[in-house]
Structures are given as C-alpha cells and as structure tokens.
C-alpha cells in the first residue's frame, strides 16, 4: 500500500501459490515489514500501536463477557455480578474491559494531541484525519452505551441525561430521543438496543481503522519535523525499527494499564454504579465517565439564551460543535509549516489548549455553580477560539523558525548540535 515497488519475494512453493491467487502475505509484508517510515519518529508516534492493541483487548474481552451477560433490566446488574463472583476469571475480564475503555481513551487523546502538535491533519492527510475523528466519535458512542450495560445508578441516569440532550432540538428533538430510547424513558428496550449497538460499533471501528491505516500508508507518516520523505536516507524499514519502538511504547502502556486493572480497578469508575438502577431515586451528582467530562463542562457552560436559542439547545450545540469542529481542522489551520517544532507561538497555544482541555475535564466533574461556571465559560471560549481564531490567524502572522531541507539533515543537525539524540 506504500506505492513503492513491492520487495516481497515468496520463497517457498506454497507462498508462490498463495501470492499468485490472493497476495495477502505480500500486502502484509509491504505494509508492516518493508514499509518505509521516517527515521526520526519519536515515542509520540507509538500511540497508534497502543490503540490497535486496546481495540483488540476490548473486542476479545467484550465477546467473552457477552457470553455471560444478560441484557434485561431485571437481571443485567446481577449478571455482571455473577461474572465478578462466579465466572472463572470473570473479575479479570470485566476489570480489563471497564478499565480498557478508559485506557483506550487515554491513548486516543494522546494520539489526537500528537496529531495536533505535529500538524498531522494537513494536506495531503485530510482524509486520514477525518477518518480518525470518525473513529473517535464511534468510540464515544460505544463507550457511552457500554457504560449503560451494567445497569447501575450511573448507567441509568447517565443514559437519561445524555439521551435527554436530543430533546433540546426543536421539532424533531423529542422524536429523536424516543427513537433512541425505544420508548418514553430509559427502560428495557433502551438496554437491549444499546447492547446490540455496543456489540456492533467496535466492528465498525475496526473497519474504519483499516481505512485509517490505508490512508496512512498512501500518504506516508508525518514526523516531528513535518518535512515529507524525500530520499531513501530519510527512512527506515517499519520492521524492525518502528515495530520495536511501538512494542516498547505498548509494553510501558500495558504496565500502567495493569496497575489499574489489578490494584485500583474501580478508581476510574463511580461508586454509584455498584447500586442497581432505580428510576425513582436520582443520584446527588450525575457525572459522565471521565473521558466525556470536557464536553460535559462545555455543555453546562452555556447558561444563557442567545436570541431564539435557549441555554439548553445552546449547550447541546456547543457540545456537538466541539467535536464537529475537528472535521474542519485541516482547513482552519492556514500555516504552511506543519510541525509545532518550528512554530514557537503555535507551540505555546497548543500547550495552553491541552491545559485548557484538562481544566475543562476537571470542571466537568464539579457541580455547575459559582466560579466553576465562569471558568467553564472561559475554557469553552478558549477551546473554540483556538480552532476558529488562533489557528487561522496564527498561520498568517507567525514567523516560523528555519526549517531543515530534509529529515536526514534535521537528524544530523541535532546530533552535531551536541544535544543527545531523542530516540
């Protein structure tokens, strides 16, 4: 898929036989062994591998969990507890799956941040980026529906609150909400369809991941300098160089993952979800999973009406807008320079953006009152300002640093500059 001439040479008779009928081994060889990658990729480029591993972990554990789970409101909660107590290693499967969702999101946020920092979304990689945003959206939908399945208090009330957003839309809102719920309130039809979709969406994610990797292998990877590959000296073979670096990244990631699975499996969850769902008893604070918190903060930041748009609809529009805006990123950034390494001002605004996202996440977990609301509003302003004002304007006014002529030159400059090679 690299567009380069294939270097695959079948050695045995069987390989030649397969190669002339379905050249799948050739494709895998060209994509994951001889595929040339920039020689200067750092560890920020290993999150893709982590995400692939996490998708696999989630699907494997999820399929086994589904063999023991029952999607029916009167038994769902107890079926999960049966997994925890009576199924062989059920506790391990469930904790892997529940924490796996969180670690999937940790990896995807790091992956997105890397893309933002090194300008990975710029031409000719717009479709690659858009497919990534599609995967992220599918992940959010999958994660949300998965959290409903244990049928605890937070499952039930989270589902009630989030599907309630859709009722904010004029005319069609109520219809959409009832269509999603399969009734007038969160109940058995909701649980059943969420289970069906929760099982379906990961396979759709896997499909889009294939497109994502295909697009990646057409355009080639970016690298910390943002300079395209020019000569063969700019590259190394995917295997062993990138594979080993990915393996090391994944292995360290797994250590942190294991720390949570085995020692603090409930740290990222909410205690209320160990209370069976009760439609008559609202929890004091309904908090979504941590990975939605920045968007939840932006939703609640809109406490005022704007013309015909009331605060509820405004909040919902801002929340969805915060994700939709990512699709337009390749055209919002006007800078001709790709990497933040050569853009001192963009670098500053990027780190502010990351800090702002973390702050919004924390605000999303606070009650919507007093100073928290004002901070959320400021955070929302910066979130949208970053994409709609800073990115377009900065590209026009910023003076970038001198850019090396090639990746090889950048690598050699770094070595002679006396600074240790950043692996």
């Amino acid at each position: 898929m690299s567009g380069e001439h294939s270097t695959y040479t079948p050695t045995s008779g069987i390989e030649r036989w397969v190669d002339s009928r379905l050249p799948l081994p050739r494709m895998l060889h060209d994509s994951f062994i001889s595929y040339p990658v920039p020689r200067n990729l750092n560890y920020a480029y290993t999150f893709g591998a982590m995400l692939s591993v996490m998708l696999l972990v989630q699907i494997v554990t999820g399929v086994v969990l589904a063999m023991h789970y029952a999607a029916e409101t009167t038994v769902a909660f107890n079926s999960v507890e049966k997994i925890m107590r009576d199924v062989n290693h059920g506790w391990l499967l469930r904790y892997m799956h529940a924490n796996g969702a969180s670690f999937f999101f940790i990896a995807v946020y790091l992956h997105i941040a890397r893309g933002l920092y090194y300008g990975s979304y710029k031409a000719p990689r717009e479709i690659l980026w858009i497919l990534g945003v599609v995967i992220y959206l599918l992940m959010m939908a999958t994660g949300f529906m998965g959290y409903v399945l244990p049928w605890g208090q937070m499952s039930f009330w989270g589902a009630t609150v989030i599907t309630g957003f859709f009722s904010a839309f004029p005319l069609v809102g109520e219809w959409i909400q009832q269509f999603l719920l399969g009734g007038f309130a969160v109940d058995n039809p909701t649980l059943n369809r969420f289970f069906a979709l929760h099982y379906l969406l990961p396979f759709m994610i896997a499909g889009v991941v294939i497109l994502h990797i295909w697009a990646l292998h057409v355009t080639g990877q970016t690298n910390p300098t943002g300079i395209e590959i020019k000569t063969k000296t700019d590259t190394v073979a995917f295997t062993p160089y990138a594979t080993l670096k990915d393996a090391l990244g994944v292995s360290v990631f797994l250590i942190v993952f294991a720390w949570f699975i085995f020692y603090m499996p409930n740290y990222l969850g909410h205690p209320d979800n160990y209370i069976p769902a009760n439609s008559l008893k609202t929890p004091a604070h309904i908090v979504p999973e941590w990975y939605y918190l920045p968007f939840y903060a932006m939703l609640r930041a809109i406490t005022f009406n704007v013309g015909p748009i009331d605060s509820k609809l405004g909040g919902v529009l801002v929340m969805f807008g915060a994700i939709i805006i990512l699709f337009f990123l390749p055209w919002l950034d006007t800078s001709k320079v790709r990497s933040a390494v050569y853009r001192p001002w963009y670098k500053l605004f990027f780190w502010l953006f990351v800090a702002n996202a973390i702050l919004l996440g924390w605000l999303g977990s606070r009650p919507a009152e007093g100073l928290y609301v004002i901070l959320s509003q400021l955070g929302t302003l910066y979130y949208f300002g970053f994409f709609l004002v800073i990115m377009p304007v900065l590209g026009l006014v910023e003076t970038p640093k001198r850019i090396p002529n090639s990746i090889t030159e950048a690598v050699l400059e770094k070595r002679s500059g006396g600074s240790p090679a950043t692996v």
Partner: protein, 304 residues
C-alpha cells in the same frame, strides 16, 4: 522525549494552579449560588446550595486495612468477626443477596462449618410435585436470605427508607477525595474509600450540635454522605457482640471488622487479583526491559 516530559510537567502545574484558584474561591461563591433545579426531594443537595456546608460534613479518616496496597490480603479472623457482627446485628435489616454461603469458605471455614452455618437459615423453595411452595434449611449453594420479603416491606418497617443491600456496599460508597488527593491516590493505590466510609459512619453518630435541627425519625451523623442525618439509628455499641477470639468488644473494633467483611463480600476475589497482578507486573517489567535492550541494540547501528 525530554521536551514531552517537561511539557507534561508544566501542564500539571498549570492545571494545579487553575484548580487551586477554583477551590480557594469556591466557599465565597457558595452563598451566592442559586439552588440548582431538579434536585430530588429529601437529599441534602438543595440545602447545600443554600449556604450550609456540602455533605458529608466530615470526611472519613483513612484507616489501615490489611487488604490495601500491593500485597493486600484479608485477615481471616477479622472477616469471621465481621460476619458475626453482620449476622447478629446488620442482617436484622440489611439483605446481602449476592453472597452465597459456599463462598464463606473464603473466610477460612471448612465445608462442614459452611454447611452448618447455612443450616441456620430457612429459605423458600418449590413448587414441589404438589405445586406447593415450602421452606427448607439453606444449603451452601443458597444465598443469604433477605430479612424482608420485598423493598416495600423493608421501607415500611424502617421509617420509609429501605435499608440498602450490603453485598456491594463497600464498593458502592465513597466520599470524593478532591484535588490534588485524587492524583496521589493513583500512586498510593487508595481503593479503600468504601470501608473507610462504613467505619466512619458507624463510629460517627453523635448528638447534633447546638442550633442544628434534625428531622424526626432521623439521626445526626456528620459522616453521612447525603445529609446531616440518616434514617438508621446508631446500630452498634460497645459490648454488643461477643467475640470468641479475644478481640476487644468495642464499637471501633466492630466497625473495622464489619467494614472489612463487607469489603470481602463486595470483592471476594481481591486477594487473587492482587496476587495475579504482582506476577503480571513482574512479567511486564522484565518483558519491557528485554524489548528496551533489543530496541537499543537494533538502533545502535543507525543515527537517530
């Protein structure tokens, strides 16, 4: 890599500063904040927004638990004492319907002891060949029977508040730790918010301070998560349960023992989990080291 690290560090600082400012200003804002809409009746929230403190009034103290940390394990004698407190006191009102008698072997009991323990209970079974329901002695495969036939009966007998099922109580309770404690908790592996809360609540009953009105039928407890007072009266007192192993018959001891027992009830595979985890960690660290050495050897030949 160094740059990424310093970036992350400065980030943490920034976020910390923001959070500190937010927390400092928060109390001043409280009085002015309008009551949030949609609060459910009976909860403490509506009052909390009016200017009275957020609940709980006091945060639970962190206790030393044998099941905490990297090598956490249950103290079987403590679990047995906790079971005694549960069966003699709590079980009068609280069900524990996810726990089966056979799992009590995890407390160190033999098959015969479990069988004898289960036989103390009567459970309904049936219908038999004549179509009649009947009661029989419980078997190890049965779960703890509930003290009330249904939640409505439980509520009716308890001043309108059905006592919660205790199977998962130790994981279903926990007071928010707040910033920055929740960050440190990742490194100290703090997962004992439930037992800490249960211990604090059981030992926390006191007379309401002057000027605090407590609704009739409720009992003041500054550690209660949702309000200043709760429907459950002080359930345990010094000397109430007689221990066979010489452990002190004090309220504090009872509370610790029953909290530990409830942690076991909620997480019976905790020991296995931590033991497995330690082996997984050792494997992963060695594996990572080997990959690191391989990677370094391969890259040594290249300029990077």
């Amino acid at each position: 890599m160094k740059r990424v690290l310093s970036g992350l560090l400065s980030l943490a600082l920034l976020a910390g500063a923001g959070a500190a400012i937010a927390q400092e200003n928060h109390p001043a804002q409280q009085g002015a904040a309008a009551p949030a809409s949609g609060e459910h009746a009976g909860g403490g929230e509506a009052e909390a927004h009016g200017g009275t403190p957020h609940f709980p009034i006091k945060k639970p103290a962190q206790m030393a638990w044998t099941f905490a940390g990297l090598f956490g394990h249950y103290d079987k004698a403590q679990l047995q004492r906790g079971l005694k407190v549960y069966t003699e006191v709590c079980s009068a009102c609280h069900s524990m319907n996810l726990v089966s008698f056979r799992t009590l072997k995890g407390l160190g009991y033999s098959d015969a002891q479990v069988k004898a323990f289960a036989a103390n209970y009567e459970v309904q079974d049936g219908p038999n060949a004549e179509g009649e329901m009947y009661t029989r002695k419980a078997l190890p495969s049965d779960h703890f029977p509930s003290p009330f036939p249904n939640p409505e009966a439980a509520a009716a007998a308890n001043n309108g508040a059905a006592p919660p099922d205790m199977s998962l109580l130790a994981k279903a309770r926990g007071i928010e730790r707040g910033f920055p404690t929740f960050v440190f908790d990742i490194f100290t592996q703090y997962q004992e918010g439930g037992p800490d809360y249960i211990h604090a609540l059981l030992t926390g009953y006191e007379n309401p301070p002057a000027g605090v009105e407590v609704a009739p039928g409720t009992h003041y407890n500054p550690y209660f998560a949702n309000a200043a007072a709760l429907a459950m009266a002080k359930p345990l007192n010094d000397g109430q349960v007689t221990y066979d192993d010489g452990a002190p018959a004090t309220l504090d001891q009872y509370s610790r023992d029953v909290a530990a027992f409830l942690m076991w009830a909620a997480e019976p595979h905790l020991e296995e989990r931590k033991r497995t985890g330690f082996m997984v960690m050792i494997f992963l660290v060695i594996f990572t080291g080997l990959i690191f050495l391989t990677k370094r050897a391969v890259y040594a030949a290249k300029e990077h």
